[in-house]
Symmetry: C2
Subunit: 375 residues, 2 copies
Amino acid sequence: MNALPPSTAFAPLQNDTFLRACKRQATAHTPVWLMRQAGRYLPEYCATRAKAGSFMGLATNTDFATEVTLQPLERYPLDAAILFSDILTVPDAMGLGLSFALGEGPRFATAVRDEAEVAKLEVPDMDKLRYVFDAVTSIRKALNGRVPLIGFSGSPWTLACYMVEGKGSDDYRLVKTMLYQRPDLMHRMLAVNADAVAAYLNAQIDAGAQAVMVFDSWGGVLADGAFQACSLAYTARVLAQLKRTGPDGAVVPRIVFTKGGGLWLQDMAALDCEVLGLDWTVNLGHARRTVGGTENGSGKALQGNLDPNVLFAQPEQIAAEAVKVLDSFGKPHQGSGTGPTHIFNLGHGISQYTPPDNVSALVEAVHSHSKTLRA
Amino acid sequence: MNALPPSTAFAPLQNDTFLRACKRQATAHTPVWLMRQAGRYLPEYCATRAKAGSFMGLATNTDFATEVTLQPLERYPLDAAILFSDILTVPDAMGLGLSFALGEGPRFATAVRDEAEVAKLEVPDMDKLRYVFDAVTSIRKALNGRVPLIGFSGSPWTLACYMVEGKGSDDYRLVKTMLYQRPDLMHRMLAVNADAVAAYLNAQIDAGAQAVMVFDSWGGVLADGAFQACSLAYTARVLAQLKRTGPDGAVVPRIVFTKGGGLWLQDMAALDCEVLGLDWTVNLGHARRTVGGTENGSGKALQGNLDPNVLFAQPEQIAAEAVKVLDSFGKPHQGSGTGPTHIFNLGHGISQYTPPDNVSALVEAVHSHSKTLRA
């Protein structure tokens, strides 16, 4: 790998609201960004994707990836940008052949289902993921300090789901068969995945990512007990290996989002990360009491958790639902020191069918009501 | 409707383990039955279905429905039978045209998506569902007192999901759009559904069902707040209208199962029902402490919650996982009076790919270990 750009190559940050909230520090408003904010609901995204020819054509081209990452920021006063990429780039670099048929989810050319296939797995050469790190640096430059850039990966368990199933699944039968029938294979795969994800996120940090997020999209399909053993333990293994600061010396907050993980919040409180992402099934007030911590005590910042389907309602209804989410968290920490903080987001990725103007209504409502909440 | 058969038409019950556990009374072993126990994993079921020509051909033919309901009891010493039918028969009777393409989920010919379509909805004439009540009576006779018979329906919210979407969904975008954009329409639909489900379950009780279960299969996709307003409130409306005893004067326990509802256990404790069904994400020990009640106090019996994918492991692994589930609940109530009890089940319907012999291993393990647990 080339030497990384010195931190002085990046412009100073103008809006640190998101990073402060990640660190449980006071902010003047509740920061907001949206999972999958650069995506198909934006006509300008569809235009760029059409030029790129395919999802991977888009993700592997630095200029295109930079362009689409910045598109939502041109429309909405969002408080963070997130790298345009996919949660499954790591197994692709392991040689499994990731692709996206139009209108469908991800698919691997090769699935990993038996002892021989698991034995072959190893942490890929990070050079195969250079297109991601190049995109991070390019986006960071293009952002020019406007908002911070979030890097990300799928969690070890979520990668394993796709690696075994070969694609999305209704029942996760194949990956769970391996889990229950050959736990030795499952744990080997998860260990390799964890070490690969850690190396991958560290390289994103070196390239300029100012926060990193682990998407445990399928942690919630596991049984109690299996979640702790197969998802949580390997997310912890990732976190234990992550750099705590970027090349500029700034702390890099770590976000863990387990979709459907609301029942395990107390287990997740023990994770060595700054932020927990929550889906819409979780009551934010309850989550705050459970893991949000106290003024000047330890705890997790909370990120979430509007149902993305709210964005199909009328603007005034969207605003009312955003207010409900903000109010369920309550007044965030104010003043000096640290305390409970909230980062507004959806509880899952934004739908491709979302009318773009409705996102304006949401972001406006979050910014304005969250200021009122602090008054 | 014809006069109902006098209760004396049915043979006395030989195995009341399931009904006793529903009522939080002591049993010598933990009763076990499996959601979808009469189904495609059984070759004899597939043979009958082939004769019937279609799923609805099977469900609407009294002889076929009776035959397949009893098939799993011939193979396994299960402690309850469940009516062979579908959760969506009520909207079918409303005129929406239910069908099942081979290898696919349910589908309605007509979806309910606008004000005019919602306005047309009404509680259907129960005579349109006579095939279900005839099947209940026929099955009850054929069971000849061997084990009790459970009747069931989808919950008002779950029916609404399919009625609006027209079929299963990944994101429930259409039904949630109605929920957030036209709550007036959604609540009217849910009210009609609730009254229809109540009439339907009461007619099943009159026909001989000895317990009834409400399948809230999609309650777990709702946001906190929306769950209470759109799922729980209308399940409560069903329960408030249900008969408490059958024609023979015996108490008819009511089971509510919300898939993905573990976060709302405390809300569900207020439901006027005897049993709560749980999926595999819930820790049974935690659920027992939350809603299981105390010795001679009130509380819910708990039903669940093995991951159906465990049945793809080896018999000894299946037994070990069954033991974990039993042990997580702990020692059930013993002696006289009432106390915490457990009904063993899967956390969701059994997979069509399950090797039938593995079910034998499961049932045997539940019966033998649950006796040990009481020693």
